[in-house]
């Protein structure tokens, strides 16, 4: 196995264009599992831990740009105001040891429908910034996932960063699993309220071939909230209930060892109602 250790992004891109099969590696919390169990024998590894710029985040024009290798721990500590949905989800990724090493770039690269960071990114219409030796692209998150563990990256491209608007309202994330740490979510859901644009954003995880947004549920709730953003009061029960049904309806889950499709739909409706109740209560609290 060849092993490359670039020290700059330009060098990493050059290596990736010369060795398109090289597997990018940062925290190793996903790739190493396959290597240790001999499920995958890459001809080459591209170790990105020496590329410092991937470990930096910054704020610009009411957006945050989070480098692909910024560990979940840093997101939890430093981005809980700017990207609360992502920060809440980050608190539940893997285990404390995993969060010290794992990063959003890995979730995006693996493109598993169960990646905890992905539903919150969908809910805020994040943008994935990719880079190659010859090109830099910005791919809307809604166009990034092509199938189970397949994404829109070209073989010569690397994930440089993810961009998200600074939160203008409350955001939440919730998931179901058999224990708190080290479980692949049975299903997960993220909700972001955007009072500034009068919209809401959603993201569903582990309940379809890719992470996806519940667009019908978003349209329904945005219309219901249109007259309620200012001077907000508690939401009618039927609105909350209908939102849950539409979220569950947007999923296309399967039966597997972790849960049945029926259970996933049932649980998603509950997660959707809970996160709506939490975020709306927060919106009311902020409006007072």
């Amino acid at each position: 196995m060849e092993f490359f250790r670039p020290t700059s992004l330009a060098e990493a891109c050059q290596l990736k264009s010369e060795h398109p099969d090289a597997v990018p590696l940062c925290g190793g919390t996903d790739v190493m599992v396959d290597i240790n169990f001999d499920r995958r024998r890459p001809d080459a590894l591209l170790d990105l831990t020496g590329v410092r710029e991937l470990y930096e985040w910054s704020r610009y024009d009411s957006h945050v740009r989070v480098g692909a290798a910024v560990p979940y721990t840093t997101i939890i500590k430093e981005l809980s105001a700017d990207a609360p949905g992502l920060a809440i989800a980050s608190r539940t990724v893997g285990s404390p040891q995993i969060r010290n090493r794992g990063s959003v770039g890995g979730n995006l690269g693996s493109a598993s429908p169960a990646g905890d960071a992905l539903p919150p990114l969908l809910a805020v219409d994040a943008v994935v910034e990719t880079v190659s030796a010859t090109n830099r692209r910005r791919i809307p998150i809604h166009e990034f996932f092509l199938g189970p563990k397949r994404n829109a990256l070209q073989p010569d491209e690397l994930i440089a960063a993810v961009h998200a608007p600074v939160a203008g309202g409350p955001q939440q994330f919730a998931k179901v699993g058999t224990r708190n740490a080290m479980v692949i979510a049975v299903c997960s859901f993220s909700l972001a309220l955007h009072p500034d644009t009068g919209r809401v954003g959603t993201g569903i995880g582990s309940a379809a071939p890719t992470p996806l947004a519940a667009t019908q549920a978003e349209d329904f709730l945005s219309a219901e909230l249109a007259d309620r953003w200012t001077g907000p009061a508690e939401l009618p029960d039927d609105v909350v209930r209908r939102f849950g049904e539409l979220v569950a309806g947007a999923a296309s889950p399967i039966d597997d060892v972790r849960g049945t499709a029926d259970y996933r739909r049932h649980a998603l409706a509950i997660l959707a109602r809970r996160t709506l109740t939490w975020t709306w209560a927060e919106h009311i609290r902020r409006a007072q």
Partner: protein, 170 residues
Amino acid sequence: MQLHVNGRLHELALDNRTTLLDALREHLGLTGSKKGCDHGQCGACTVLVDGRRINSCLALAVTLDGVEIRTIEGLSDDGALHPVQQAFLDRDGFQCGYCTPGQICSAVGMLDEFDQGWPSAVTTGGQPAALDAGEVRERMSGNLCRCGAYMNIVPAILDVADAAAGRSSA
């Protein structure tokens, strides 16, 4: 390559597929760190890298040139046990002992994270005032004990936290 472990510099010639855990156990004879699951589930291989806890089974040794690695063998100070080690003894925080090195390294890292004000998934509001059993359980959730010694592990860790905060927990 060079590995900096417990204050000593080691020159090693390693296959680049060697994990840090295998390098420690097979090449440096530091067998305190245990191989439980080899894929990050159990935490028995937890070590500190630049003071932060990681699963050594999920890190390739070659990527750790130039960082400071501390294992269970490097926690005691000139024969005096680290306070977390002592607390595990005092509270009988183990049965078979296989998970213990990982538990202790993880607890050392966790207590420092808490001192730095890092929140956990069960922290509500801002900076947590003090560790309680719920916080310890969540923050130690990356370490499994198949004997189920949690009933003594949690009080052991709380003893250290309380002592550091100048409280006594009877």
